[in-house]
């Protein structure tokens, strides 16, 4: 691994190559070892037309990807981690608006990592969904 390329640039290069990231239309706003996942609203992300709510699966995918990205940013593993399991809590209805997410690495061990992620829309204090995931880093 080249030492001149920052972890953030490595992450960006990786995300650019991941088809599901393009399909979702998400990107990561990277600031050093911190980042915010951004999922701009698109009609295709809707799960229920009658109430124009975001699909739980789209939010879950976005949260899992954000957790993986944050984990990559703070670890020195050559490859992104593999998911062992995730639990997603759906706290509020996801509205037809942009969705943001921030993830925190709770524990980074030699083999496993535990990551928490939270998604919100217009108000940071009113999370829409939260994820707790375990990942294999080794």
């Amino acid at each position: 691994m080249s030492e001149t390329i920052s972890r953030g640039d490595q992450l960006k290069a990786f995300l650019d190559q991941v088809p599901i990231v393009q399909t979702l239309g998400m990107h990561c706003d990277i600031k050093g070892d911190d980042m915010v996942g951004v999922l701009p609203f698109q009609n295709k992300l809707i799960g229920n037309f009658t109430i124009k709510a975001l699909h739980g699966g789209a939010m879950g995918t976005f949260l899992e990807m954000t957790a993986m990205a944050q984990l990559f940013l703070v670890s020195d593993a050559p490859r992104p981690a593999r998911t062992i399991n995730i639990t997603v809590d759906y706290l509020r209805q996801g509205k037809a608006q942009d969705l943001y997410a921030r993830a925190t690495v709770i524990k980074l061990g030699r083999r496993m990592a535990s990551v928490r992620a939270e998604a919100w829309q217009s108000e940071r204090d009113k999370p829409v969904a939260a994820l707790l995931g375990h990942f294999l880093v080794g």
Binding site: T23, I86, V88
Partner: protein, 160 residues
């Protein structure tokens, strides 16, 4: 005359008749491209065809776990529709997914979901994703779904 809103058997018949279109009215499910293939009381089956745009790891070319989240979440919701005595919309409260083994690149993913317990306000579901049979699962899911207040605007093709 029994109607799909209040009569479960009539609703299952309605769901079977609209199976092809069930996911077309759910944009994100439609984007993923999965289909419902079989419906029994409280139990639904589906298939997620392999698609390049769903890849989560460019090196192994395996479908992203989030696609399985979408598939199992959606099938769980549909299994509630095939289990509730009176029709109600359901909303996911929580969903846990365990990944047992990676999916194989280039292969379709089969899945099934079962609504195994219902209380006044919550439905409990579990689901499985695999390539061939449930004996060799890719992922399992367990979820709780909130049962919403009655709605009556049931139209052909609407998601049950």
């Amino acid at each position: 005359m029994s109607d799909p809103i209040n009569d479960l058997d009539a609703r299952i018949a309605f769901m079977r008749a609209n199976m092809e279109n069930m996911m077309k009215v759910t944009p994100w499910a439609n984007e993923m491209g999965f289909k419902v293939t079989r419906i029994e009381k409280g139990h639904v089956w589906g298939v997620q065809p392999f698609d390049e745009k769903l890849i989560g790891d460019p090196e192994t070319r395996v479908i992203h776990g989030g696609v399985i989240t979408t598939l199992l979440d959606n099938l769980c919701g549909s299994s509630c529709g095939a289990a509730l005595k009176e029709f109600r919309f359901v909303a996911t409260l929580d969903l846990r997914i365990d990944y047992m083994r990676p999916a194989e690149s280039g292969r379709d993913i089969l899945a099934e979901a079962e609504c195994y317990h219902i209380t006044k306000s919550v439905a409990f579901c579990r689901a499985w994703a695999y390539h061939e049979t449930r004996d060799k699962v890719i992922a399992t899911a367990q979820g709780a779904f909130a049962i919403n207040q009655p709605r009556t605007n049931l139209k052909p093709g609407s998601q049950l």
